[in-house]
Structures are given as structure tokens and as C-alpha cells.
């Protein structure tokens, strides 16, 4: 087995065979501190062995700060000319220890952490986590809360997909589409701001319902969204379908066959673009998705172009769901009324002593409700990138014993080596943008 990241010229300087990031570093075990030697890192790596024509392979570093990586990803490419011989993706630059943090926060507090995972569609994370904790506690949320969760999840999905389409176009050189997508996405953020006061870090759900009911003009805002967005999606599609530069760069790149997509644990639009019409909303419905009339679109080709078409098709289905859900939005409570188990309504906390007591009981560690010792749940929802799973184990305390987040981006990125190998460097960019890797969720 040969090294990919570090060529043999560096190996002699490297104590204990550390990888490329710590090239030239020595670990002083007695002090427990990492000491770097003074030798500068070589800029360009060339392999020592030559092929039959006397050519050498080059090792090229892409990222972690690179415009095409859309976040802090590092990819180490081994190149034969322009062709990629091997790929070594390195992740973890945005690792923040969300799962460790979860063990030290209460069930409600962890909602704020879920915002920071897929920050392009934070509401889907909030909803996914709330559903997991509700399954653990055995809570059934009211009808209105479920409908609102569906509406906002789908609106967030459209926002996520539209941005991904824009960035995919930008990476292929079509910059104007990215700007249009950003501008239209702002309209969605206006809705999000109206319901929860912030645009990115929403923290909108609570265990047992929502943070608060939506404002009165919410249905009008959603109707405006429904009127605007079919045109936006058509516009993006018109600009890129038949665009020769875009089509020729994405068609046929990063082909992922169906059987491999399943084996690699790919989910979401990337799986469906490979011809596997699996959607958690259909297979294991939550929040009443089984009662909505929508289709699971899929493509056959499995290349970057298919992933682009897939997101377009999914946006249209999301609009269908929002339209149906809006008709079901009847007046009613948005929270479970059992305040011995969930936080009481904030307005009543300020006005009556009973709610204040319940509020304190739910906040103070050791006084509120908690799942039984040894209880555990694995719950998954369909987030814009795929299956977002939460595996929660309880030890009977008010904070989880273990919170595992099954990030769709991480498993989707695991196949990148397979897709980029054998292609050109420019194909790697086309593939990466079509997978829609969100570093916050990838590294957690």
C-alpha cells in the first residue's frame, strides 16, 4: 500500500508516519504537545517512481480554502497530467463536537445546536430532532403544528435546492444564476424571519410543538411564495437546460450506478438521481406526509446532470405539498398542552404562576420530565440532502446520554473518491457541487 497524501520525500522527516497536514511535525510524547519542525512544506509533490514514458504523478492539494469546495473541505488529488489517479478527501475542519455537546445540554437546548448542522435548511434539522425526541417521549403533536412543520420543511427544502442549483451553475461558470437564486432565496428567509425572528439559526421547533404560533399574515406570505417560485424554478431550468457549456461539463461526469449508491448509503436527491426512488417521506411517513399527494421523482442516469434535474423536479413536488398543506392550516394549538412533560406557552409563563412553576420545573436539571433509563430511539426524516437520522439514548436524566446524528452529507461525501477517480480535475468540481456537501453537517 502506498501513501496518497504524503510522498516519500516527506516521509523521512515525519515522525511516527503522520499525514500530510502534520508533515514535518514531531510528537513530543513526554510533554504531550505537538512540536513542528522548522522545515517548510514543499509546495508541489511529485512521485518518485516514473511511468513507462518517464512521466511523474503530481499530488495536488485542493482546499480547505477553495471557492469550489463551498466550505472547509480538503481534497488531496493524485494526478497524472489532468487526469485524477486517486483522491483522498480529508474532512473535520468544521468539527465542533455537536454529539459531545448534546450529552451536556438538555433535550430542548440541543435544538439550537441542530441549527448549525445544515445551515441552509436549519428548519429541517429542527423538525427532525424534535420528531426524534417526541418519539422517545411518546408525545403526539397537534395537527396545526404538524401542518406548519410540513409547510416550513418544504419551503426550506426549496431554499436549499435552489441555492444548490445556483452554486452548481456558479461552479460551471454561470454566475448570474447564483445571484438570482440568492435573491429569490431571500424571500424565503423573510418568511422564516417572520415566524421565528432569525434567518439562519432558526431554533423554531420545541419538543411537543413549536416555539410559537405563526403570525397572522403567514398564509399570505406562503401564498406569495407559491405564486413566485414556479417561475423561479422555470427560470433556472431555462437558463441551464440547453446551455452547452453547463450541459457538456455535467453530463456524464460522476456517474453513480444504482446498486453502488445503495451500498454507499447515499440518500436524498443523489440516490434518487441514480434511479432509486427511495424517500423517507413515503417509506416511513412522519408529520402526516402519508396524507399528501406528491410523487417521488427519479432520474435514470446517475450523473451530475441527473442530480441537477432531480433537484428541479423535487422543488416542484415541494410546492405541491405546500399548496395542499396550506389548505389544511386550521386554527388550533401548536403545542402539546401537557405542561408536565413539555415547556408551557411563553405568554402564559409571564402571566400565571402555574405555568411559571412548570416552566422552571422543565428547565431545572433534575426536576423536569425525562425519558426512562435505557430508552433509545432511531428516528429519521427526509432532509434536503437525504436521510437525517437521530439516534438518542437516555439514562433517565434531563439531558440525553448519547445523541448520534446520522448526517446525510457525510455518507454522500463518502462516495466522492469513487466518483472523482478517473475523471479530470474540472470534473471533480462538477461532481462536488452536484453532491451538495454542507460542511457544517459533514463535520458536526
Amino acid at each position: 500500500m502506498k501513501r496518497v497524501a504524503v510522498p516519500s520525500i516527506v516521509e523521512s522527516d515525519t515522525a511516527q508516519g503522520e499525514g500530510g497536514r502534520t508533515a514535518g511535525a514531531a510528537v513530543d510524547a513526554s510533554a504531550g504537545r505537538v512540536q513542528l519542525s522548522e522545515s517548510p512544506e514543499p509546495r508541489i509533490f511529485l512521485s518518485e517512481e516514473e511511468d513507462e514514458f518517464g512521466g511523474k504523478q503530481m499530488i495536488l492539494n485542493m482546499g480547505p480554502q477553495h471557492p469550489a469546495t463551498h466550505g472547509t473541505l480538503r481534497v488531496i488529488l493524485k494526478l497524472d497530467g489532468e487526469r485524477i489517479v486517486d483522491v483522498d478527501p480529508e474532512i473535520g475542519f468544521l468539527h465542533t463536537g455537536f454529539e459531545k455537546l448534546g450529552e451536556h445540554l438538555s433535550y430542548t437546548q440541543f435544538i439550537t445546536v441542530t441549527d448549525r448542522m445544515n445551515y441552509l435548511s436549519a428548519i429541517n434539522n429542527n423538525v427532525g430532532y424534535a420528531i426524534a425526541v417526541e418519539a422517545l417521549l411518546g408525545i403526539q403533536v397537534p395537527e396545526r403544528a404538524q401542518v406548519l412543520r410540513v409547510i416550513m420543511s418544504e419551503i426550506s427544502r426549496v431554499a436549499d435546492h435552489v441555492l444548490c442549483l445556483g452554486l452548481q451553475a456558479m461552479d460551471m461558470g454561470a454566475f448570474s444564476i447564483m445571484l438570482w437564486a440568492f435573491e429569490k432565496r431571500e424571500k424565503i428567509y423573510d418568511i422564516i424571519e417572520a415566524i421565528c425572528g432569525s434567518r439562519l439559526t432558526t431554533s423554531w421547533t420545541r419538543v411537543g410543538g413549536l416555539f410559537r404560533d405563526v403570525p397572522e399574515d403567514f398564509p399570505a406570505m406562503v401564498r406569495q411564495f407559491l405564486a413566485d417560485f414556479p417561475g423561479v424554478i422555470d427560470e433556472i431550468e431555462t437558463m441551464l437546460r440547453g446551455n452547452r457549456i453547463f450541459e457538456e461539463r455535467v453530463k456524464g461526469t460522476g456517474i453513480l450506478p444504482a446498486a453502488e449508491a445503495v451500498s454507499y448509503g447515499i440518500t436524498g436527491p443523489c440516490l434518487r438521481a441514480s434511479g432509486v426512488p427511495y424517500d423517507v417521506r413515503k417509506a416511513l411517513p412522519y408529520s402526516g406526509y402519508e396524507s399528501y399527494d406528491f410523487e417521488v421523482p427519479f432520474q435514470a442516469e446517475g450523473d451530475s446532470w441527473a442530480r441537477f434535474l432531480q433537484r428541479i423536479a423535487e422543488c416542484r413536488q415541494s410546492l405541491r405539498i405546500v399548496e395542499q398543506a396550506l389548505k389544511r392550516l386550521h386554527a388550533g394549538p401548536v403545542n402539546v398542552s401537557d405542561t408536565k412533560r413539555v415547556l408551557p406557552d411563553k405568554a402564559s409563563v409571564y402571566q400565571n404562576i402555574e405555568s411559571l412553576i412548570h416552566h422552571f420545573k422543565q428547565i431545572m436539571l433534575g426536576h423536569g420530565s425525562a425519558p426512562p433509563r435505557g430508552a433509545e430511539v432511531y428516528s429519521c426524516t427526509e432532509s434536503p440532502n437525504g436521510e437525517l437520522g437521530f439516534y438518542i439514548v437516555s439514562d433517565g436524566e434531563m439531558n440525553p446520554y448519547r445523541v448520534r446524528v446520522r448526517p446525510p452529507s457525510m455518507y454522500n461525501y463518502g462516495v466522492f473518491t469513487r466518483l472523482a477517480r478517473g475523471g479530470m480535475v474540472s470534473d471533480a468540481v462538477a461532481v462536488l457541487s452536484s453532491l451538495n456537501i454542507i460542511a457544517g453537517e459533514l463535520d458536526r
Binding site: Q16, E18, G19, R21, T22, A25, V27, G32, R33, V34, Q35, L36, I91, G92, H95, G97, E99, K100, L101, E103, H104, P257, A258, A259, E260, V262, S263, Y264, G265, G275, V276, P277, Y278, K282, A283, L284, P372, R373, G374, A375, E376, V377, Y378, C380, E387, G389, Y391, V393, D395, Y401, R402, R404, R406, M410, Y411, Y413, G414, V415, D443, R444
Partner: protein
């Protein structure tokens, strides 16, 4: 799998987790134990020397056909000691069948002194990264995984962050990383020079 090689989605008969445990017990006998609280979703707890045949059976049996490994992770039971686990770590596999739309959870106990387990990456490729992360966070060795480097933490990181004896704020590793500064200036001095006085 259908003749064309594409996995079949939907159209199957979903089984409840209790029924899946019954099938497993019928094939493997008393090697299978069922876990989980009464009234909660049950899962199977299997001994680690039999985990690969059992996972292969779950994948290949037509009635079960778990063709999708959704997640591999672990739980450190250092504080929450459960009789059904009996060891320090429990490695958890989340399985899903696209055809039958059912899900199942398999657990296996791994001891602290000998944290080794065969790798599932021959059955599902998604185990490649799932096991890497579990190795990174808990220090569990998956034998047979071709690329068991750390996934999220730096390669020379000394600890396993999700173990219960690892402190939330770390052990000072953060201060040990020297930062690259142009001209070799000490980090604090370079910071002061870079920032204008307010």
C-alpha cells in the same frame, strides 16, 4: 436485487422488529438476544464473534433484504451500565430495507480491553466511513476496514472524544497546536500587529 442490478424500492412486506428477531432466532438460536424497554422498539443484541454472519443473513434473506446500512455508531456504557450490554461499548448498526420499507437495529457489545470487531464494509460500502468515525470517536478497531484512519479529528490526536471519560473541554490539545504565522512571529505578537488599535 432485481435482475437489472438496480435495487427494488417498495412493494415488499414490512416486518415488525419483533418478527425480525423471531426470524433471527429461528436461524441463529440463542445467540440472538432481544433488547430494548417493554413498549419500545426492540432490537437484537448479538455476540461480536457472530456479528458478520448475522448481518450477512439480514442482508441476503429475501424476506428481510436489508440492502441499506444507514449508520454505524457506538455508545459508551461507562456510566449507563445495562445488563443486556455487559461491556463498555455497544456498536450499533442501523439497517434499512428499501424493498420492504422496514428498519432494524443490531447491537453488539465490545469490551474496553479488546475493542476489536470485524468490519462490515464487505457487506455495505457505507460502513467505510461510518466505521472510520466510530473508530475516531471511540477507539474501536474494525478489522478488515481498508482505511481506518481518523475521520474528523487530526491524525495525531491522542484521545477519543466521545468516550465518557473524555472531558467536554478536552485535555488542552487545542493549545498544543502551533500556528503557522508569516515570518515566524510568535502568535500573540502577530495578532497584535495585525489588528489595528481600536
Amino acid at each position: 436485487m432485481s435482475p437489472s442490478g438496480a435495487p427494488q424500492v417498495g412493494g415488499g412486506i414490512p416486518l415488525a422488529p419483533a418478527a425480525i428477531i423471531d426470524r433471527l432466532k429461528g436461524r441463529f438460536g440463542d445467540k440472538i438476544r432481544s433488547g430494548g424497554l417493554p413498549g419500545k422498539t426492540p432490537h437484537a443484541i448479538v455476540p461480536r464473534e457472530h456479528v458478520m454472519p448475522i448481518l450477512a443473513f439480514l442482508r441476503d434473506e429475501p424476506e428481510l433484504s436489508f440492502d441499506f446500512l444507514a449508520d454505524v455508531t457506538a455508545v459508551d456504557h461507562a456510566i449507563l451500565e445495562l445488563a443486556e450490554i455487559g461491556e463498555r461499548f455497544a456498536v450499533v448498526y442501523q439497517l434499512c430495507s428499501l424493498r420492504h420499507s422496514h428498519r432494524f437495529e443490531v447491537k453488539t457489545a465490545v469490551s474496553e480491553d479488546d475493542p476489536r470487531l470485524p468490519s462490515a464494509c464487505d457487506l455495505w460500502k457505507s460502513a467505510l466511513w461510518g466505521e472510520r468515525e466510530t473508530h475516531d470517536m471511540f477507539g474501536i478497531e474494525f478489522e478488515g476496514n481498508p482505511d481506518l484512519r481518523r475521520l474528523l479529528m487530526p491524525e495525531n490526536y491522542p484521545g477519543f472524544p466521545l468516550r465518557k471519560d473524555y472531558p467536554l473541554r478536552g485535555r488542552g490539545e487545542r493549545d498544543s497546536f502551533r500556528q503557522y504565522r508569516p515570518g515566524g512571529a510568535p502568535a500573540v505578537e502577530a495578532d497584535r500587529q495585525a489588528r489595528p488599535a481600536v
